[in-house]
Each structure stands twice: as structure tokens, then as C-alpha cells.
Amino acid sequence: MPDPIDRTIFGELQDSAGADFVVELVGTFFEEAPRMIADLRSALAAGDGERFRRAAHSLKTNAHTFGATVLGAQARGLELGGLPSDASGIDALQSLYDSAAAALQELTRG
């Protein structure tokens, strides 16, 4: 299994924005990302393709910010793939998020 976080990208983020700030930013991501995933589920349930695409788009952008490239790629697939027929793609995204979040947690532990 590949590293959920690209250390080079994450290191660059720390260098340019400051390590302390990145801790805060990761905290914000931990608040926002579960909402986006919940949004994906409710958009799917409501058959709202536009809302689904937007939520996937947001998650993709944030994942790439932290170097969570595998999570970003999965989110991109959802963004560009249209409204799926079932929740399997979201479930896969959720597990990728969990491992990315665990790795980020580790990386930002003071």
C-alpha cells in the first residue's frame, strides 16, 4: 500500500506556510472533510449530480493541498464520473480519507 501522503508535497506546504500553521490547517481539514463526504452521500441519495460533483471537487482540491494524492485521485474520479449508481465509490473514498487522516495526524503531532 502506497504512502497516503506525499511527503515532498507536505514538506513544501510546511516550508511555505509554516509548520505551526499547517497544524491548524490540518485541523480545519479534519472538520471540513467529513462534512464533504456526508455531502456526497446525501447528494447521491437525493440524486443531485451537481452537488455531488461540487463536494467531490472540494475534497479533491484539499487532498492535493496536503499531498494526499491517492485520496485526491479517488475524489477526482467521483468529480468527473457523474452520479454513480451506488455508494461503493464513496465507501472507498472514506477508507482512503481515514488512512490519509491518520497519516496527517502522525505528521502534525507536536
Binding site: 481539514f29 482540491t61 493541498t65
Partner: protein, 344 residues
């Protein structure tokens, strides 16, 4: 140093993006404010004081495309540089943003070095534009400058319905001979300042200054609700201001100034004349000649403000006038009906 300490607005609905962009920009020495959707961003921009907008495209309530459209339609905001920051895929989005007036497009996640370079270049472009605007405004009037900024510059005329005014200082040669050159230039500057104020506050445009005289147009290049009334009101203000100036001059033991004003209304051919390098906004046609002749006639008539029949009729009794009968004017085949504003 143009990129230091600018006031920037970040519009992005995504909190992580917003915080990170604001952080990068703050570290680059700028002051940063944020908006979480396009509607709020527009409100903040209209509040004034921002040098540049960083705009996300996908936002609730009002998206980036709508913001760009609104900015382009707003003369006060159209010059605010916009850098789009987006992770929308496909070149068509980029093209659309540029077409709508965005200065630049940065893909997210935004590279801080690239961001710094693009902001520096956009702010520098804005500084040059502002400089150019200030220069145009100094040598033209703000109405002409606005017309130029809106329509661009093209030599060529169009027919417009307008009111033309000529004004000059009576007996100026005598005044020049009685005082030093510095005093004469100072007097002219004071006089022009007062006349410009009276004319522009009624929506007129001073388009020529010739020694001790000037020509103004009401109704072109920008429309005025009621050009004849605006011109006559401006003329009355001008006479009043000369009265105030004379009171000051009398206190200093100086001779009083007298001005003559001629006003005519009708079709004029308005446009930029000259060459591509040097041009002026002007109006030509019978109406212009008539206004000049009426101004010249104020001396013989012993009146401050004279106008043609078209101007008088358009006033519709809102300013008291007196018919002076038909007068032979130089350059006119037939006698012309002349009206004077009744003093007081």
C-alpha cells in the same frame, strides 16, 4: 516594491483553501480579507479599497463566472485585477475566465512562488493603468476620460443633439497689460477653476481652453438629462462665481472681471479629431458657430448670457428670458432670434 502591502481579497467557499491562500499572501506582506462566496466578495469590493481579487470559480450563491460578469459591467470595479484560483479541469474554463476579464489563472493547489509572481505582475499592471487613467483625466475631463475608458479611442464622429457654450473674459487684453505675467496666469487659473466647477457640476464638459476663453458641451460625450437647462444653469452659476471673485478682487483694489456667455442648442458632430498620436474631443457644426457668435454678441448687447431660440424654447419658462429680436450675426445669412437671461 509594487507587490508589497497591497490590499487583497480572497473569495473561496472552501475553508482550507481560503485559510491557506490568506496565509501565503500575508506572508508575502499583503493585507488580506476573505469572502466565502461571490455575493459577499462583490459587496466587499463595492465597499472599496481592494487592489486585487483572488477568485475561486465554484462557489455557492454566486460563482466566480458571475462575479467576473458583474465586475466587467461595473465601471468602478472593472479595473480591479482578478486572478482566478481554481481546480476546475479543462482549458475551456480557463478561456472563459480570461474572456470574462480575469488577468490570470492559477491551478489549485496554488504554488506560492507562482502566486507571488502573478500577484506582483497584476499589481504592476494595475499601477500602470491607474497612472494612465490619472494622466488622461488631467488632460481631458473626467467625462471624456470615462467615455474613452468605456468605448476606447477611435477617431471619427457621430451626430448628437447637444447644447454648446462659449465663454470668455471681457477686456482681458487690458487686464493683461495692467499686471505682471505671474498674476495673469494666476488669474486665469482661478477663472478656469471656477468655470470648470460650474460647468462640470451641471454635467457639461469643457473641451477647449483658448487663452481667456473656453468651449463647453452639454449632452456629449456622455448624455445629460436636459442639456439646454443644464447649460443655462451652469452659465448662471458662472456669473455668480464671477460676482464672488470680483468682491475679492475689489477688496484687493483690483479691477472687476466681466464674462460673456453664448449658448446654442441643436445637432452637432461630436468626436475625436486629430491624429492617432494627439487628438481632442470636440464638436463642430452650425450650432457651435452660432454659440460662438452669440458669445461675441454679448458685448454689443450688453448682456452676460445670450442664447438661441432652440435653447430658449427648451427652457420652457424654467429660467426667465427676454427676447432681443432678430440680430444679424457674422457668418449667418439670415438674422437670428436672440434671447437674453433676465438678470436677477
Amino acid at each position: 516594491m509594487a507587490e508589497r502591502g497591497a490590499r487583497l481579497l480572497v473569495a473561496d467557499d472552501n475553508k482550507v483553501n481560503r485559510l491557506l491562500l490568506a496565509r501565503s499572501l500575508t506572508l508575502q506582506g499583503h493585507q488580506v480579507a476573505s469572502a466565502e462566496n461571490g455575493r459577499i466578495a462583490l459587496e466587499m469590493l463595492r465597499g472599496g479599497g481592494f487592489d486585487l481579487l483572488l477568485l475561486d470559480m465554484e462557489m455557492p450563491e454566486m460563482d466566480g463566472f458571475q462575479v467576473l460578469e458583474q465586475l466587467a459591467a461595473d465601471t468602478a470595479l472593472r479595473d480591479v485585477p482578478v486572478i482566478v484560483t481554481s481546480s476546475l479541469e479543462g482549458i475551456t474554463h480557463v478561456v472563459r475566465c480570461i474572456e470574462l476579464g480575469a488577468d490570470d489563472y492559477l491551478h489549485k493547489p496554488v504554488n506560492p512562488v507562482l502566486l507571488k509572481a502573478r500577484i506582483g505582475s497584476s499589481l504592476e499592471k494595475k499601477r500602470l493603468r491607474d497612472q494612465q487613467k490619472a494622466l488622461v483625466e488631467r488632460f481631458a475631463t473626467s467625462a471624456v476620460a470615462a467615455d474613452l475608458q468605456q468605448g476606447g479611442f477611435a477617431l471619427g464622429g457621430r451626430r448628437v443633439q447637444a447644447t454648446v457654450m462659449f465663454c470668455d473674459i471681457r477686456g482681458f487684453t487690458g487686464i493683461v497689460e495692467s499686471q505682471g505675467p505671474e498674476e495673469t496666469i494666476e488669474l486665469l487659473n482661478t477663472w478656469y477653476t471656477l468655470m470648470f466647477e460650474a460647468i462640470t457640476s451641471q454635467g457639461g464638459v469643457v473641451n477647449q481652453m483658448i487663452g481667456d476663453g473656453l468651449m463647453a458641451i452639454f449632452g456629449a460625450p456622455l448624455p445629460v438629462a436636459d442639456p439646454p437647462l443644464a447649460a443655462v444653469r451652469a452659465a448662471l452659476d458662472m456669473i455668480e462665481m464671477i460676482g464672488l471673485l470680483n468682491a475679492e478682487r475689489a477688496a484687493e483694489g483690483k479691477t472687476a472681471l466681466a464674462i460673456g456667455i453664448g449658448i446654442a442648442t441643436g445637432e452637432v458632430i461630436a468626436g475625436y479629431t486629430g491624429t492617432q498620436e494627439r487628438a481632442t474631443y470636440t464638436c463642430v457644426g452650425d450650432t457651435v458657430n452660432l454659440a460662438a457668435r452669440l458669445e461675441a454678441h454679448t458685448k454689443q448687447a450688453g448682456r452676460g448670457i445670450l442664447m438661441d431660440a432652440a435653447t430658449q424654447a427648451a427652457l420652457d419658462g424654467r429660467v426667465r428670458t427676454e427676447a432681443l429680436g432678430d440680430v444679424e450675426l457674422k457668418g449667418k445669412a439670415k438674422p437670428v432670434a436672440v434671447h437674453a437671461v433676465t438678470a436677477g
